[in-house]
Each structure stands twice: as structure tokens, then as C-alpha cells.
């Protein structure tokens, strides 16, 4: 381990009775990085996070967080001074005001951030005097994040942080996480949303059945960056396909699809041909494999990744 590794997971194993939750996973997270843990339900994400939070002990293997064993009692209070944790579905005292709830948590830390500053950061300044029970789901999640960062953590754990958000709230939340990361906070994130991992994470690890099946940048995971691009467009049904300057990979009705590893050159050829032959190309799209495509392949497709739209 180097000093820059904020989190080290080395061959971690954990069983619950007959069920193997983790079967020897390894990865590390560097200082200032946003690292995503992806995987279907039961893949081992939450167990991993709970071990790193010091809430569970692994059966075998090693976990280190900020240089210490998170399960060690002798350093647990000091370690938690340096961690921020946003749990899934954790409630906050409903009858307190937003400011009181945050003040309460800030008081547990030796050097907390200013409460009003944190409320402004998460966009709840105007709700500071409202009761927690009057907040909407998205606002509650923002308060969760405020509780997670009020201790000025060096490392922030986010467990499925935007589940149930509408698209606007989700993008606002991403902006918030990016600003924390830019300020130097290391973030370890679990999520079902591939868009979220794509937008936020510098690196991701995909878990399946308690094992890491892939690790890397979201842009290059599963060879996304070197895979063939898919060019699709519509032509008039009367257009003679034999005049196309590039051979189509397939045609369905008037929709033509071309798979290529050199999309720039193919597009140039196509547009020159269309202009010269006075042919209209409608609905032109260029796509590479999405992170979701890669994820579904890696996880065996037994649980389709959840897209943002499916949850609205």
C-alpha cells in the first residue's frame, strides 16, 4: 500500500451461513478519487461498504481505511472523525428542524464544518427552520448528504445516494459530489445507475457474486473505448443501397446500421455521398457501447442495470 491509497481491500471474504457474500475481492481507492462499486443486488456492495465502515469484520482478507483497520476498536472513534457516511434509507429525527438535526450531528465531531455553510452547499438553506418531516424525498437525501459531510470528512461513503431522485435532483446531486471531490474529498460510491457511475466515477469496480469481475475507468471498462461504434440512420425506401459508399452491417426497413471502428472517416464518406447524390440522411446517430451494455454483459444479464428513466 502507498500513502496515497485511502482505501485498500485485499482478498476480502465474508460468509453469512451458507451464503458467500464476498469471495476474495481486492481493489484500492486513491486520495481524491471518486470510486464506484457497481453490481446487482446481492453482489456484495453493501457488505463491502459495511466492512470498510467498521460495521462488520471480514472472515479473511484485509481492509484498510485511511491507513487503519476499520474494525479496530482502539482507533474507531478517531477514524470516524475522518469519515463521512451516507447510508441507504436512514432516517433523521423527524420533529427536529433541519438546522437542529445538522447541528446535532455536527456536535459529534471535533472540527465540524459550519452548519449554515453545509446547508447552503446542499441547497437547504431556505429549509433550515423547517421540520425534517416536512422535507420531500430529494430534500431528505440532501440532508443525509449534509449529515455525511458536516464532519469535514477526508473520505465519504455514499451508498446508493440518488435512489428515488428525479432527473433534475440527481444531476444537482452529481454537481454537489463533484464539488466535494474537487475540494479533495475521496468518495466511495455504490450505485445501480450506470449514468451516475459514468458521470461521477474516476474508476469503477463491477461486483458479481462476491467477486470483482471488472475494474477500470467507466470510459474504458470492458473495452468500451476501443469497441466498434454503431452508426444508424434512415434513408428513403426508394434509395438504392448498392450506391452507399460504405457497406451496411444491417438494414431494417429504411433504417440502416453500420458498425465501424473508424466512425469519423465513415461519417465523412457518408455525408459527402449524400450531398453529392442529393440523398437525405435522417435520424443520424453514433453510439459506442454504453456502460450499461458493458455492465449487463459483465453481470451476466441476470439483472438488467437500472436506467434513470426506469425509476422515474
Amino acid at each position: 500500500m502507498t500513502a496515497e491509497h485511502v482505501v485498500v481491500v485485499d482478498n476480502l471474504c465474508k460468509r453469512y451461513g451458507d451464503h458467500t457474500a464476498l469471495a476474495g475481492i481486492s481493489f484500492s481507492v486513491e486520495a481524491g478519487e471518486v470510486f464506484g462499486l457497481l453490481g446487482p443486488n446481492g453482489a456484495g456492495k453493501t457488505t463491502t461498504l459495511e466492512i470498510l465502515e467498521g460495521f462488520r469484520r471480514p472472515d479473511t482478507g484485509r481492509a484498510q481505511v485511511l491507513g487503519v483497520n476499520p474494525a479496530s476498536r482502539s482507533t474507531s472513534t478517531e477514524l470516524r472523525e475522518r469519515l463521512g457516511i451516507v447510508l441507504q434509507d436512514a432516517s433523521i429525527e423527524p420533529f427536529l428542524s433541519v438546522r437542529q438535526a445538522l447541528n446535532r450531528n455536527a456536535g459529534y465531531y471535533r472540527a465540524p464544518r459550519d452548519v449554515d455553510e453545509v446547508l447552503a452547499l446542499v441547497g437547504l438553506a431556505e429549509k433550515a427552520d423547517d421540520r425534517v418531516k416536512s422535507l420531500s424525498g430529494g430534500q431528505l437525501r440532501r440532508l443525509d448528504l449534509a449529515v455525511g459531510v458536516v464532519g469535514a470528512p477526508e473520505l465519504l461513503f455514499l451508498d446508493e445516494p440518488t435512489t428515488g431522485f428525479d432527473p433534475v435532483a440527481r444531476r444537482d446531486f452529481w454537481t454537489l459530489v463533484r464539488s466535494l471531490a474537487e475540494a479533495g474529498t475521496t468518495v466511495l460510491l455504490t450505485t445501480h445507475y450506470m449514468e451516475e457511475a459514468d458521470a461521477l466515477a474516476d474508476r469503477v469496480a463491477v461486483l458479481r457474486g462476491g467477486r470483482v469481475v471488472a475494474e477500470g475507468s467507466p470510459k474504458s471498462l470492458g473495452g468500451r473505448d476501443i469497441s466498434e461504434a454503431r452508426i444508424r440512420f434512415r434513408l428513403a425506401l426508394t434509395t438504392d443501397l448498392s450506391t452507399l459508399p460504405v457497406a451496411p452491417t444491417s438494414r431494417e426497413g429504411n433504417v440502416v446500421e453500420i458498425l465501424t471502428s473508424d466512425e469519423i472517416s465513415v461519417l465523412r464518406t457518408l455525408t459527402n455521398w449524400a450531398a453529392g447524390a442529393d440523398v437525405t440522411i435522417d435520424g443520424l446517430t453514433v453510439e459506442r457501447r454504453s456502460l450499461e451494455d458493458v455492465y449487463v454483459t459483465l453481470t451476466g444479464g441476470n439483472q438488467v442495470a437500472v436506467t434513470t428513466e426506469e425509476h422515474q
Binding site: G67, T77, E78, R82, L87, D89, A90, L96, Y108, A111
Partner: protein, 273 residues
């Protein structure tokens, strides 16, 4: 960089640490008090309910006296009994239900993952229970004195001791009970049923005559002893011990047994995952 060096131990002198710990306790108690009193329904059912119950039974009982307790007015027995009831209601029922709800909605997990030391959480919770119980007892004593002319306890020091032992015993019972309740939906019904049966058996609503069958049963449980211990602090009647050591001993034993169960079975995380 060694493991221990990597964690910045920003600890001050022992005096500063003690000051910080005391501030943490005070702060936690303050926010627990806010949470409790800002929830009007919860506060009413924990505190106001005993006042309403006392008033109704006192009106129904009129000027009756309890012959086998030296002819004391029934209302005096009720004021003592409901003072005990208040402590039990707050520390057993309220605490057990609150713990189950907070465990299941992960509030306990959040606390566990914060830097708040567990011993401070436990101590602050006990102090919080003691404050609410004290408020309840004071309200009941005032209602008894002003509305029904019941004299204040003859042995206030003994009442404080009994109150503190009761808070400790029934809080431990509350924590232990919470470990046996699987979800927040069943917390209220289960705790209320157990509490009602224990209170009924223990003679809160009608004093139990010496030698009665119910007395033989209720003597095994701490509820009966809490009632008689509080009652004893009110009375200067001959034959009634003003410092009820036996009752206190029974409650202490129950407290220790429940503490062992609580420590062994307590969970911070929800059962439903």
C-alpha cells in the same frame, strides 16, 4: 506511515477531554429532549396519559380508603402508583418502542458510525429517561396535591433513590425488550400488551390485599416493587418501610439481568435488510 500514525489523534489534555465528554453528553441529552417534547403525541402518551389515568381513577375512587394499607386514602395510593407508572411508561415502553423504530430505520446505525462514543450515548440516554421521568413525577405530585389534596412524599430523598433505581431497571428492561421485537410495526402492540399485563397484575388499578394470589405472582416482577417502593416514600404509616430496600433489591436484580440480556443481544442495524 504506520497504521496508528496515520490517524490524527487530536486529543487534548485529560481535563479538556473530560470537558468535551461532558459537553457531548449535555448536547445529546438536549437534542433527545427536543426530539421527545416536539413530538406532541409521543409526549402525551408517555407523560400526559398517566395524568389523565390518575385523574379518572381518583374521581371514580372518591374518598375510599385502603384498609389493609393502614387506612390511607385510595387517591394517595394512586398518586404513588402513577408516579411509578410514569417512570415505567417512559423508561420501558417509550424506550423499547423508540429503540426498535430507530434500529429499523437505521438511526442507530448512523449514530454507531458517528464519532460519538457508545458510553456517552448510553449515559445520555439514561439521563434523558431520568429527566422525562422526573417531569412526569413532578406533574403527578402537583396534580395530586392541588386537585386531590394528597400530601407530598414524606421521604423525598428515598423517592429520588427509588426513582433513579427505577429508571435504571426499567430502562434496561426497555433495551432488553427491544432486542426481542423484530420490526417497528409490532413494537407498539407488543410493548403495550406486556406493559399493560404487568401493570394490571401488579395492582396499580386496585391495591392488592396481602396473601392474594395476584400478589404472589406480581412479587416476581419489578413493576409491583416499583409501585410499593414509591408508595412507601409517601407514607409515615407504621409498618410501611420508608426506605424500601427489598423492593429496590428486586428492581436492581431485574436491572442487572436485563442489562446482561441487552448487552448480549443488542443490535445497531435493522433486522430487515
Amino acid at each position: 506511515m504506520s497504521a496508528d500514525q496515520s490517524v490524527s489523534l487530536q486529543r487534548g489534555s485529560p481535563v479538556n477531554e473530560l470537558t468535551r465528554d461532558l459537553r457531548l453528553i449535555g448536547r445529546h441529552v438536549y437534542y433527545e429532549q427536543l426530539s421527545f417534547w416536539l413530538n406532541p403525541i409521543g409526549a402525551f402518551f408517555s407523560v400526559g396519559f398517566s395524568v389523565v389515568f390518575l385523574t379518572l381513577l381518583a374521581i371514580a375512587g372518591g374518598t375510599s380508603k385502603v384498609t389493609f394499607l393502614g387506612g390511607v386514602p385510595l387517591i394517595e395510593y394512586y398518586v404513588a402508583g402513577f408516579s411509578a407508572y410514569g417512570v415505567m411508561s417512559v423508561c420501558f415502553s417509550n424506550l423499547a418502542i423508540t429503540l426498535v423504530i430507530r434500529r429499523e430505520n437505521r438511526q442507530l446505525m448512523r449514530l454507531r458510525l458517528s464519532p460519538l462514543p457508545t458510553w456517552i450515548l448510553v449515559l445520555a440516554t439514561a439521563l434523558n429517561m431520568a429527566i422525562i421521568s422526573a417531569v412526569d413525577i413532578i406533574v403527578l405530585l402537583l396534580v395530586g396535591a392541588l386537585a386531590f389534596h394528597v400530601a407530598l412524599p414524606a421521604q423525598p430523598f428515598a423517592l429520588i433513590v427509588v426513582g433513579l433505581i427505577g429508571v435504571a431497571c426499567f430502562s434496561m428492561m426497555g433495551v432488553a425488550a427491544s432486542t426481542a421485537i423484530p420490526n417497528q410495526e409490532s413494537a407498539g402492540p407488543v410493548v403495550s400488551l406486556v406493559f399493560f399485563v404487568l401493570v394490571f397484575l401488579s395492582g396499580l388499578y386496585f391495591p392488592l390485599a396481602p396473601g392474594s394470589g395476584l400478589l404472589q405472582i406480581s412479587n416476581w416482577f419489578p413493576v409491583r416493587h416499583m409501585i410499593t417502593a414509591v408508595f412507601a416514600t409517601f407514607s409515615n404509616q407504621p409498618g410501611i418501610d420508608a426506605f424500601p430496600w427489598q423492593d429496590i433489591l428486586v428492581m436492581a436484580v431485574w436491572g442487572v439481568i436485563c442489562a446482561v440480556i441487552a448487552v448480549g443481544r443488542f443490535r445497531w442495524e435493522p433486522r430487515r435488510r
